[in-house]
């Protein structure tokens, strides 16, 4: 009860998460430009340009947004801040920005020193974040379903990073013999179906009921499914091929069950108003089901001729269809909510600020702008899904990527500028 253990310091300044969000679209635009320049990159996953494109999206966009959001999620779900958040956030962000740029440039130019620099920057950045966030997660009480799922996601992130480091060892220190070809698939699998999926699941258990006045997820979805996914992924990693043939499908079936239940929860929401965050969730979850079915198909069928483009398609459906859709939807809601929350706090702390009219949450990113973001995503997905078979389609997809991330940047910077304007009005002396 009361205010014991509570402090305003538990909620980080608004620019802590938002600066991560604001920089992410730049990497999306760079990925689009790269795709326009190398349209054949979606025909072979081993091309240097393909590796650069993948990491611009997964590190520069996906992980950037996720890390920024996590600085804010922990105080909201557990009332506990990420340890030293204000001091470490700028360093984590800079490490991610320069590390991602060095890594992708290193892939494109085959310069070992750039890859080495990237490994150093990214390892420092992730080390700082995982240490601080992990401490907060371990201390969070009570450990609700979201907290437990985020802990599993954090462990999966560590596994993904270790596997990623072993990939880089091939370029940096080949005589160490740490690299084996099948690790590439494990790195992608644990990164996608471990770290990212568990993170989205954990966050969705909170934000879908909270923002959309929907019922809580069934207990078995919140409690058992994350554990099943984590245990199955661990079995794939630790036990080798014989167990993997059983554990891999288990993860995929669990992912399908989660997506189906999340769609049911969204259907049961009380307010059925047009909301583009809901539509992005529905689109993303449908793509998670599609990606999982595609992966199951690849596991249980044989044949080589058609396999390579389908594997690329699977990556695109998961990364752009599922993860990007969910992320775009969440940003339409979370960025304005955080800005509104902080302006409200400032208004209450400063009596003269009570005279300043606060912008409504929906004025920060107007519904019309969210609608355009959704339309761009609806056009982008089929174009990029066809690109593994038709490289000319990749040029159109690249243009659409530039447009989609340019639009996202425009929306986020618009909201940020409104925040800065109102903040300056509040601090002008009477």
């Amino acid at each position: 009860m009361n205010l014991t253990g509570l402090s305003l310091d538990n909620i980080p300044p608004v620019d802590t998460p938002l600066k991560f969000f604001l920089v992410a679209p730049v990497f999306g635009v760079l990925a689009g430009i790269l795709l326009i320049g190398y349209p054949e990159l979606l025909t072979n996953r081993w091309l240097p340009a393909t590796l650069a494109f993948t990491h611009l999206l997964t590190l520069g966009v996906g992980t950037m947004v996720m890390l920024g959001a996590l600085f804010q999620v922990l105080p909201v779900v557990s009332n506990r801040a990420v340890a030293g958040d204000q001091a470490i956030a700028p360093w984590v962000r800079r490490g991610m920005v320069w590390g991602t740029l060095a890594l992708t440039t290193g892939f494109l130019t085959s310069r070992g020193w750039l890859v080495g620099l990237a490994a150093l920057l990214l390892a420092s950045s992730f080390g700082l974040f995982v240490g601080a966030f992990g401490t907060g997660l371990v201390r969070a009480r009570p450990a609700g379903d979201t907290t437990v799922t985020l802990r599993l996601a954090a462990l999966s992130l560590v596994a993904t990073l270790v596997l990623g480091g072993m990939q880089l060892s091939l370029r940096l220190w080949p005589e160490a013999g740490l690299y084996e070809p099948h690790q590439t698939l494990l790195h992608a699998f644990v990164g996608g179906f471990g770290w990212v999926l568990l993170l989205i699941m954990g966050v969705s258990f909170q934000v879908i009921p909270m923002f959309h006045v929907a019922p809580a997820f069934p207990r078995w979805v919140c409690r058992q499914l994350p554990l099943v996914i984590f245990a199955a992924n661990a079995a794939v990693l630790l036990a080798g091929h014989p167990v993997a043939t059983f554990a891999l499908p288990l993860t995929l079936v669990a992912a399908i069950l989660y997506a189906a239940e999340a769609l049911k929860v969204l259907m049961a929401r009380k307010r059925k108003l047009v909301d583009y965050t809901v539509r992005f969730w529905q689109l993303g979850l449908s793509q998670l089901i599609t990606a999982s079915l595609l992966a199951l198909g690849l596991i249980f069928t044989e044949g080589d001729a058609w396999r390579a483009p389908v594997e690329l398609l699977l990556g695109l459906v998961f990364a752009l269809g599922f993860v990007l859709s969910v992320m775009l939807g969440m940003l339409q809601k979370i960025a304005p909510f955080l800005i509104y929350l902080h302006l409200q706090r400032m208004a209450m702390a400063n009596p003269q600020a009570m005279m300043v009219k606060l912008p409504h949450m929906k004025a920060l990113i107007p519904t019309e702008r969210s609608r355009w973001q959704y339309r761009l995503q609806l056009v982008l997905l089929p174009c990029i899904y066809l690109a593994p078979w038709a490289p000319w389609m990749a040029v159109i997809a690249g243009l659409l990527l530039v447009a989609a991330f340019g639009w996202l940047g425009y929306c986020l910077w618009g909201a940020w500028r409104q925040y800065q304007r109102v903040e300056s009005e509040m601090t002008v002396p009477l």
């Binding site: 009361n2 205010l3 105080p75 909510f337 929350l341």
Partner: protein, 98 residues
């Protein structure tokens, strides 16, 4: 002296459990400004509103949150100057959800 279970207190109920963020916060903060002496706000919410708590502190209020089910949270809010006993909130919450 804090209000206990035996003291009379005028409870002002409000239900924000079907509102989208940030409406619960807006309505709670607005209702707090209208609170009279001897009144206590009892908010029914579907989740524990952690981001609200620092704002209550800024507004000179204290609170007690009692969970009465997976999606039922009763948050009692009162001015810092007129303390309320936790037992009072627990007794009222037990009656409210009965």
């Amino acid at each position: 002296m804090p209000h206990s279970a035996t003291n009379r207190l005028d409870i002002v109920p409000m239900d924000v459990s079907e509102l989208e963020p940030p409406e619960p916060m807006e309505q709670i903060l607005a209702r707090l400004q209208q609170l009279q002496a001897g009144q206590l706000l009892r908010v029914r919410h579907r989740r524990e509103p952690f981001p609200l708590y620092p704002m209550l502190e800024q507004a000179g209020c204290e609170y007690c949150c009692i969970q009465s089910g997976t999606e039922v949270f009763l948050i009692y809010i009162w001015p810092h100057s007129a303390p309320v006993d936790e037992a009072f909130c627990r007794t009222d919450a037990a009656e409210e959800v009965r």
